[in-house]
């Protein structure tokens, strides 16, 4: 009996060794959420770290720009001129010299102009101001500005009361130059823009994961589009902050997936889908019971209807196409900082920031004779993604308020569309936004 028992043991041990049975579809769905919960804090921490760094950099840049303008103001020298005649002033008429200046008792306006490269070094003297006087500022680089004297306080300013014989005349054109360069609050701080762009979407593939390489090798970008409204607020002469709401549609074509129609009479499963297709942007689940999918020489399709179980040719199914289109639609909320490099009729801006992208819809389809044939949807997508953007904006001023904009923008997604792609797939997009903006 023992020998017979050993025989029966061997029969089952050897017979069941390496035996495989394809699990029913949907088991992975039950495993996914449990596994996902473990990795989520890491992703959140990374996103939080990136946001913190970018916000800190933005604040530091803004503060640095403010400090720069304050430093320039600190080297200024003030001249009194009669308010009654703003076109003519007498820079040295009432100048009181300090003892160190005795060797050069008279310093005329033209003298100061000749000392363009050197800061004017005069001992500070704060005088009580008269409401009827205006002050002309001269800094070390011979920049001039005019302001009401009431607005000037502090020891960094030196007043030169000038009168007497040396009274150089300043022409109106010069004064206008001073006024244009004066420190005044920027007008038209707000602007609204309507922008649209064709978008090229793709992804970097890093690491040595064979499957992700295999998947991405058969995926091609589809030219998509993006558009919306943007609001900008000018926080200083050079910097402005921009936000808005955009709608964008992205997608890719997955090659090597053969689709057939007419499968419905053969569908005997009770599940909500018959096929799962692996892509770098999540798993496609069919929701059309009439569709049959197969992939030659690839294990990217999971199904109970494998080729050895069901032959679409023997069943005379109708071939539809050999690729799928995966489409995603997002609502985007960008927060962008703009720095004006050139401020002329054609202005140039450097643009950088972050964008929160909310997934609003996704679909998978293919085409047959130019008509769209629905396949299913992609599951396991991140409902919210974060992207960083960098671009160069060109602005052509049509009038004081209206301008044309062109912004080539590169966008890099900080977290992938699907958590399944992990650290191997890094999506990016490139778009050339164009539109009109109105300042108010």
């Amino acid at each position: 009996m023992n020998e017979k028992g050993a025989n029966i043991d061997l029969l089952f041990r050897n017979g069941l060794k390496d035996y495989e049975v394809l699990p029913p579809p949907g088991v992975w769905d039950g495993i996914q959420p449990s596994v996902k919960a473990k990795s989520r804090p890491v992703i959140l921490l990374r996103v939080a770290a990136v946001v913190t760094v970018l916000v800190t950099l933005s604040l530091l840049t803004y503060r640095w720009s403010r400090e720069l303008s304050d430093t320039n103001a600190g080297t200024e020298v003030a001249f009194n001129i009669p308010a009654s005649d703003p076109l003519v002033f007498n820079p040295i008429a009432s100048h009181k010299f300090s003892p160190s200046e005795k060797s050069d008792p008279v310093k005329t306006y033209s003298d100061i102009l000749s000392e363009k490269a050197e800061p004017v070094s005069i001992q500070p003297e704060i005088r009580s101001s008269s409401s009827s006087e205006q002050i002309l500022y001269v800094d070390g680089a011979s920049k001039f500005s005019i302001a009401n004297r009431e607005s000037v306080r502090g020891p960094q300013l030196t007043s030169l009361n000038t009168s007497g014989s040396t009274q150089p005349k300043v022409k109106y054109a010069d004064l206008q130059y001073f006024q244009e360069n004066s420190v005044t609050k920027p007008k038209n701080r707000w602007s609204i823009a309507a922008m649209a762009s064709p978008t090229y979407y793709s992804s970097f593939n890093s690491g040595s994961n064979e499957l992700s390489k295999e998947l991405s090798s058969s995926e091609q970008s589809i030219i998509s589009y993006s558009g919306g409204l943007a609001f900008a607020y000018k926080i200083s002469k050079r910097f402005s902050i921009q936000s808005g709401l955009y709608y964008s549609s992205l997608g890719q074509r997955v090659d090597g997936i053969n689709s057939y129609s007419g499968f419905k009479p053969y569908d005997i499963t009770k599940g909500d889908h018959n096929f799962e297709v692996l892509t770098t942007n999540g798993t496609v689940y069919t929701n059309n019971p009439d569709v049959y999918l197969s992939a030659n020489g690839s294990d990217r399709i999971l199904t109970a209807y494998t080729n050895d179980v069901f032959d679409p040719n023997k069943a005379s199914l109708q071939p539809v196409n050999n690729s799928l289109s995966q489409n995603f639609s997002y609502l985007e909320l960008p927060v962008v900082l703009k720095y004006k490099i050139v401020d002329k009729t054609i202005g140039i801006n450097l643009i950088g920031g972050l964008s929160y992208n909310l997934l609003v819809s996704n679909s998978v389809s293919t085409t047959v004779d130019g008509n769209r044939y629905s396949i299913g949807t992609t599951r396991g997508l991140n409902p919210l993604t974060l992207s960083s953007s960098l671009g160069m904006g060109m602005e052509y001023n049509l009038s004081g308020k209206l301008s044309l904009n062109l912004e080539p923008t590169f966008r890099y997604y900080l977290n992938p569309f699907s958590p399944a792609t992990g650290s191997y797939v890094h999506p990016y997009s490139f778009g050339i936004f164009s539109g009109v903006s109105y300042k108010f």
Binding site: G5, I8, F12, V27, K36, S39, T280
Partner: protein, 186 residues
């Protein structure tokens, strides 16, 4: 670094693609184990799901010593045992006596023509307690002492269950072989 090590590393880093890849590569083999230990498909599916969750949760405990597939299989078998223990799904000892003694096995039995799915079907027809003991002893290679602790029975009961399981299996295998031969001759 071998590919499986890279996949494990990716899983530990929370990489969804690697987690799915690990599942897809091993799910079929482990599902066959689950079917072997369960009486119905729904239970097998639950065992597979819970087993994989445990595999992912305990992946950092795998020391890359010995077969990774063996390590996963042990977790799956333990999950099946836990499930049966928690449901008190094991037959009581007195139930065993109610099972009819099988007919004596014919000599020189020919097992030719039996396929793996036939064997799986036969093993799943066994009463739960016999199936558990037979699987653990004959397939997994545990001793009666180990089985007694795993299934909460005495060593004597383990031996007795194994013996009865073998007899039932021999009879059923004989029946299957006979049917198959008959079908082949027709």
């Amino acid at each position: 670094m071998s590919e499986i090590k890279k996949i494990i590393k990716g899983c530990l880093a929370g990489n969804r693609r690697d987690q799915e890849l690990l599942y897809r590569r091993h799910a079929s083999k482990l599902y066959a184990v689950c079917l072997q230990y369960s009486g119905n498909d729904e239970e097998a599916r639950d065992i597979l799901q819970e087993g994989f969750i445990k595999i992912f949760e305990n992946l950092d405990n795998y020391k890359h010593e010995g077969s990774f597939e063996g390590w996963m299989r042990r977790i799956t078998v333990n999950t099946a045992l836990e499930k049966f223990r928690s449901r008190h799904n094991l037959y009581r000892v007195d139930d065993i006596d109610m099972i009819q003694e099988p007919d004596p096995e014919p000599d020189n039995q020919d097992y030719a023509g039996l396929e793996a799915n036939d064997l799986l079907e036969i093993i799943r027809e066994l009463p739960t307690k016999y199936r558990m003991v037979f699987n653990l002893y004959a397939i997994e290679g545990y001793s009666h002492k180990e089985i007694s602790k795993m299934v909460n029975i005495s060593e004597g009961t383990s031996k007795s269950n194994l013996s009865r399981a073998r007899v039932i299996l021999q009879r059923r295998v004989g029946s299957y072989t006979g049917i198959k031969k008959k079908v082949a001759n027709e």
